[in-house]
């Protein structure tokens, strides 16, 4: 019984060795990088989406020419504002939401937005588990920068690892592009203090 099984395995290995070696060498040389990349999907706007440690629901986007939720602008600047409902899906209070949204195709002076709680303009407060809050992402732009009428934002999520590779502690790692949201961008004129 063992003898026939062994000969069968030997036959399989002999016959498959060339294929395995070819795949291995091709992988090493990066041949699979030429495969068509999987395009991130378009995320829905009317329902909340789970993006790693956040559940997000974008509400609206606009260009503001005045102080928005306590974020001051330099003279001659305007600001791209994205408002979104954010819910912390994790088990502890957290504020790692800086990289969740990023506008595509805009030259940003500083890719790191100012993020304010729309309730009272608190800058970058921690969000607590299961408590949905509306947050405003504010990117200052040069005054003459052109903003398209429909702007897409990339959404970045992370994966949860119960044990990381260094300390064996749980955490969120490996950010990847979950998808894209596309929102119409209104233009809010200067008078008043923003909507």
């Amino acid at each position: 019984m063992f003898r026939t099984a062994r000969s069968k395995v030997q036959t399989w290995i002999t016959a498959g060795a060339g294929t395995i070696a070819a795949l291995f060498v091709a992988g090493l040389m990066g041949a699979f990088g030429a495969l068509p990349a999987h395009t991130p999907p378009l995320l829905p706007l009317d329902t909340a989406t789970d993006a790693g440690r956040w559940r997000i629901r974008p509400v609206r986007a606009y260009v503001s020419h005045a102080r928005t939720y306590g974020v001051l602008l330099k003279p001659g600047q305007k600001a791209l504002v994205l408002e979104a409902d954010m819910t912390n899906r994790t088990a502890r209070s957290d504020k790692a939401y800086f990289d969740v949204f990023k506008p595509d195709g805009l030259a940003l002076a500083d890719p790191m937005p100012m993020i304010a709680l729309t309730r009272d303009g608190t800058l970058t407060p921690e969000l607590h588990p299961g408590m949905t809050e509306r947050m405003a992402y504010v990117w200052p732009l040069a005054g003459e920068a052109a903003v398209p009428a429909n702007l897409s934002f990339g959404v970045t999520a992370e994966i949860f690892k119960p044990r990381d590779n260094l300390y064996g502690t749980p955490g969120w790692f490996n950010p990847y592009r979950l998808g894209t949201i596309t929102l119409p961008v209104a233009d809010v004129p200067a008078p008043g203090t923003g909507p």
Binding site: D120, P129, M131, E133
Partner: protein
């Protein structure tokens, strides 16, 4: 011959099973270096390594009134505000108590709010041995996280192997649905507090 092969296979399988069991039952590094809890109840003095803490009162409110840079502000929340008054003392040397966490019944951890900015009676609390000090910890919590909750107080946010006071909040009056019995529409953080008399002056 057959017996020896089988015996080797059994030894191999049991070794694999034993190693796998040891691997999956290995404690997390985070658990090995976690803070060491010191349990206590409400109104008891809990003695942590570098400080003593006594939980005096928990007030729930829908809004908080506070003074920020001379401006009166009313802070709202999607849940409830929980204002926890504690009495703090250092044990041996002056120290600070910086971290308060509301741990819900299922283990969700709500850290103290950062929306109040700097205040004298908010963390970090500087405490000295022998001098009692009233210290506030303010949390934003959903109302279903009150029954069975506990309060975690430690000197630092990441304090491996340091003591962490863990005060069970079982004594809070809640209704049948787990909602707190008494929720104030607004709580004024700057209202004068009724202080217990502390010696003669």
């Amino acid at each position: 011959m057959r017996i020896r092969i089988l015996g080797n296979l059994v030894i191999l399988a049991s070794t694999v099973a034993l190693s796998y069991g040891m691997q999956v039952s290995k404690p997390h590094y985070a658990d090995l270096t976690a803070p060491i809890p010191v349990d206590g109840a409400m109104h008891d003095t809990v003695r942590a390594r570098s400080f003593d803490v006594r939980l005096d009162k928990v007030v729930f409110a829908r809004q908080l009134k506070t003074n920020q840079f001379g401006q009166e502000k009313s802070l709202t929340t999607s849940g409830l505000w929980a204002v926890v008054s504690t009495n703090l003392t250092a044990t041996a040397a002056s120290t600070t108590i910086a971290d308060g966490t509301w741990q819900g019944p299922t283990g969700l951890r709500y850290r103290q709010t950062e929306r109040l900015g700097y205040r004298q009676d908010m963390p970090p609390h500087g405490v000295d041995p022998g001098l009692e000090k009233r210290g506030l910890f303010v949390f934003e919590i959903p109302s279903d996280q009150i029954r069975g909750a506990s309060l975690l107080i430690s000197a630092r946010q990441f304090g491996p192997l340091d003591a962490q006071a863990r005060i069970s909040l079982d004594g809070l009056p809640t209704g049948a649905d787990g909602q707190p019995a008494d929720v104030l529409p607004q709580y004024d953080l700057d209202a004068p507090q009724a202080q217990p008399p502390q010696g003669k002056s």
